[in-house]
Structure formats: structure tokens, C-alpha cells
Amino acid sequence: MAELSRQRRFVTPGPGETVEQLAARAMPDQPLESAVDRIKSWNLHVFAMRRPPGLMLGSDVIFVEPPVTHA
């Protein structure tokens, strides 16, 4: 099977999951507050552009790292 190039890692929210719970799940080695802040900053499509801001849906893509630099 062909190799896939590295792309930005993401998760999808679980049922009723809060951003704090998602951050704890996706970034367990990070202090929670910092992890939440980072996730919010990497996912403006959910946490800034959406009305109401931060409404997470089961189908959402939530990035758990910053954009990957492409050559």
C-alpha cells in the first residue's frame, strides 16, 4: 500500500464532548489550559467563525497541531 505524506493531525469530537475533554484526550501530555488554548487557536473555523462560537459537532474536523509547513 502506498505511503501517505504527512498532513495535519486531527480528531473528531465524541458525543457531547467539551473542548476541555477533547483537549485532554488529544493532548494528554499538555497542561489542560494550554491544550485548550492551542486547540482553539488551531480551529478558528469552530471557535471563532461559527455562531455560536465553539459549538462542536460530531462531524467536525478538529486539528490537534498547527499547520504543517509545505515546501
Binding site: M1, A2, L4, S5, Q7, S59, V61, P67, H70
Partner: protein, 552 residues
Amino acid sequence: MFDVIVRGGTVVDGSGAPGFQGDVAVKDGKIAAVGQVSGEARQVIDASGRVVAPGFIDPHTHFDVQLLWDGAAKPALEHGVTCVVPGNCSLSLAPLKAADRRAVVGMFQQIEEMPPEAFTTAFEWTWEDFAGYRAAIEKGLSINVAPLVGHSVIRLWVMGPAAQERAATPGEIAAMQDLLRECLDAGAVGLSTSFVDLDEHGRPVPSRYAQAEELDALAAVLGEYGRMLQVVPEFYATDITIARIDQLADLSIRHNIPTTFSPLFDTLAVPDNAERAIARVEEQFARGARVWPQMQTRPIDISFSLLRPSLFFARLPRWVRILRQPLDQRLAALRDPETREKMLADLGPDGGEAMFGRLIARGGDACPRALVGKTLSQIAKDRGQPAGLALIELSLENGLDVAFLSAGQGHQVTDRIGPMLAHPLVHIGASDGGAHLASFSTYGDTGYLFSEFVRKAGAMSLEKAVAKITSETADIWGLKDRGRLQPGLAADIVVFDAATIDREDELPVFDMPGDGMRYTRAARGVDTVLVNGAVAYSGGAYTDAKSGVVCV
């Protein structure tokens, strides 16, 4: 004795092979012979000097409602389109309980910019299930239809209002699977879903509340039938689009299904957007997935007036709310100083110059002629007003019937688009036929493919262009007896002039129910269109033929 012989044309059979001089014979709705055909026919069509090709297939439309009063999906058929795929973007008109009709009409109104009168005045809404919808459209089809069923309506059927509130339970997911099977058995070509759309109240559509497990379960049902999953992703953000490609690829491999996402736009604002997405598609195909990006041929030009809500104001929710009000309330709001002040504040400190300045006054019955062709920036300067205020006041002075054009919103550089359209993994589609009625014409993309990308740019051969919109589309969607001029297959045939085929200028027409307006484009260079062996369009006129079928 054949029913029809199309004689003496250049046969471009849809396979991509070079065209050749020959004839195409038709018997009992099927292609009976291709080549030098001897024998007689009840009807002979002289195709000398013309191309004879399989009918074109449009894989992304919203003709769901129009098909109920217009079985030709006009003007799609006159452009040579003989098969349309409605039901995209999670929305279809079945399965749908009577109590939920208003909600889904609101979604069509919001997302696809279709007037509510189109759903309430032109037909009797008698069905709830998919088989009932199929029966309703089959009464008068001149064009073939391969309908998708929408994930949002499936969810709404099973969950009711909770479809827009929460994740589904295992029991609800199982019920959705059963309902999807019922729809596929009744002729659905696949399932559509949406990751981006909002309803008329600004709430995410039901499909967006689905967990990955729900979509996986529905994809498993598609796998039982080998049917398509269509998705509208967050096309404005490359990283998210790539994440969606990866999700679709996993579903495609796990359940052995074809998947497609639409649209994929090229935009100079994010110049590597389409390029990166296509590169990821290449990687996923190499892995064994089938994820077909749909790319439209036409540039994105949006027209609007303040007479109707418009996609143009999508980023201005206050403007959308005001423009959706009944006319008297809308006029009152636009005249109200306090409301107007808030609307102008939404445009930022430049008074709307950046957002509106490049708009061009394009007409409208009441538009002063001297203004037609001028930019709103020029008009505002002449009036001594900021652009946003000039837009509102000029519209009010003329009964709101002043149309503006926002040209070149993206996807407009032929030298960039051509190679992408020619890419073997790019699926030409995403026309949105039958939607966005007062924003732009969604008809004639096939004519534009030939005029702009074959004749003008030379991005692909005539034969390749025909193959892209016939056999390749049929293969992607599993339409086994369409897309090629080959004995035994359905006789969907278009006869056109390769030197002139094109789309005409975009014009407003008032042919929607309730005298509703839409922008359309007539066809140029298309002589004759046969659907299942019957002439449905010839010499610039539609015939009475009702030979279209649900062709899944």
C-alpha cells in the same frame, strides 16, 4: 428497420478514442449499431459537419424540485445534458414526512437559494418515501435522473427535531441504515452529506450532527450496493478539505465505495488550494481509495439585487436576515436609520469600499441606464457616499430592482483551471444545476468546457473533453448503460457543432413558479439531443418526448 439513424457525423464515442466519420443507429431506445450503418430508419438525422457524442452527464445538481414541473430540467437538456444527479449536499425531497417539509424547504431556500414558491405552487406534494418521489418525477421526464438521497433528510425522518440537536443512538443509526437501503432499492444512486451547510435559522443541517460512526454505518450500506457517497466539504480551507479527503478515502477503502466531494475551487487567494487537494487525492488513489474531486468549468460570478436574499451576503448575517424579510418589512428596515447604521457598521471602517467597491451595476428593470457598467466605487464617488450606503440608497430609489455583478470571485484563470480539468482524477461537475437561481446561471458548463478549454486554451482534446463528461462520469457513478456510443447501451446522444458549441450570455428569465426569476444561459451549437432514443431537443426547440427515466 431502425428507429433512428444519425448519419454522416464525426462519431466521438465517449471512450476518448479519436473521432471517426460514421453513423449511429438506434432501435428500441438502445444504440443498435455504430460505424458505416446500412439499412433504413423511420427517422434520419443528418449530422454532416457535426460531432455525434454520448449525452453529457451532470453529476452535481439540485433539480429535485424543478423535475416535478419541468421534466427536461431546462435548459440543461438543450446543452446536451441527458442525465442529471439531483439530491446533492445532504438534501433531497424524500424520504420526508409531511411535517418536516417546511424545514427542508427552508434548507433548500437557504443553501441552494431556491424560492419557497417553487415548493408550494407548482405541484401536489403527495409522497413521503423515496419510491413515491421517484414515481412523482417519472410521470414527465424528458431527461434521465440518477437521484441521490440526502443524509439530512434521512436523519430528520428517523430522529425528528433531535436530528439537529445530538448524536444518534445505535438504534437510530440502525433505523437510518434500513431507510437508506429502502431508498437504494427504490432507485437512489447513493447518499449525499454536508459538513458545511446551515438551515434558514443559521443552524447546522442535520447531517453535521452525525458522529463518524453514523457516517461509517451508512457507508457500510452503500458498500452493500456499491453506491456513491457525495460530500460537500469545507472547500474554503485547504487543511480541512484534505482531512475530508482522508476521511472519504478511509470510508472508500473500508466499504469499497466510490466517493466524491464537491466543489473543488481554484482561487488566487489560496493559490495552492486545489493543487494540494489534488496531490492528496493522487496519494489516496495510489492507496486504493476512490475519492473524486468535482471541479466546475465556469468562473464564479455572482449577481444580486436587494430584491432577494443572495449568497453574496453570506458573510454578513445581519444583511441576510434583513434581505430574507417580506418586501414591505425589508424596505422598512433598509429605510430605518438605526438598522441602516448597524448594517453599514458591519462593512467595516471603509464603509464597504473593499467589500462592494468592485461590484458592477449590471441592470435590473429599474436600474438607471447611465449606471450600467459602472462600478459601485464610481457610483458611490459620484454620489459622495460610502459604497455600502450607495448600494442601499440606489436600490431604494429604484424599488430594489438594481442588479449588481460580483465578477471573478474565483476559479477564473483558464491557464490554471485547464490542466486541473484535464487531470485523470478530477471529475468535471459541480454545476449546481437548478440552484442559486438569482445569483448565477448554473447551466452551460459543458458548452464552456468546449469553448474555453478545448477550442481557446487547448487544455484537452475534443475527445478527452467528451470522455470526461460522459464515459468517465458514468464509470465513476456506476451508470453501467450510459456514457458511451456502444451497441446495447442507452441511446443518449448529442449532435453538436465542435466549432461553435458554447454557452450564451447569462440572462434573467421569469419562468419559475410564482413568476420567480432565475439567471439562465441558452445553448449555442447544440443541434439535436436524443434521450433513450427519442429526440428531446432539435433545431432550437424542445419536443414532446418524455423518454427520460430514473436510470440507476
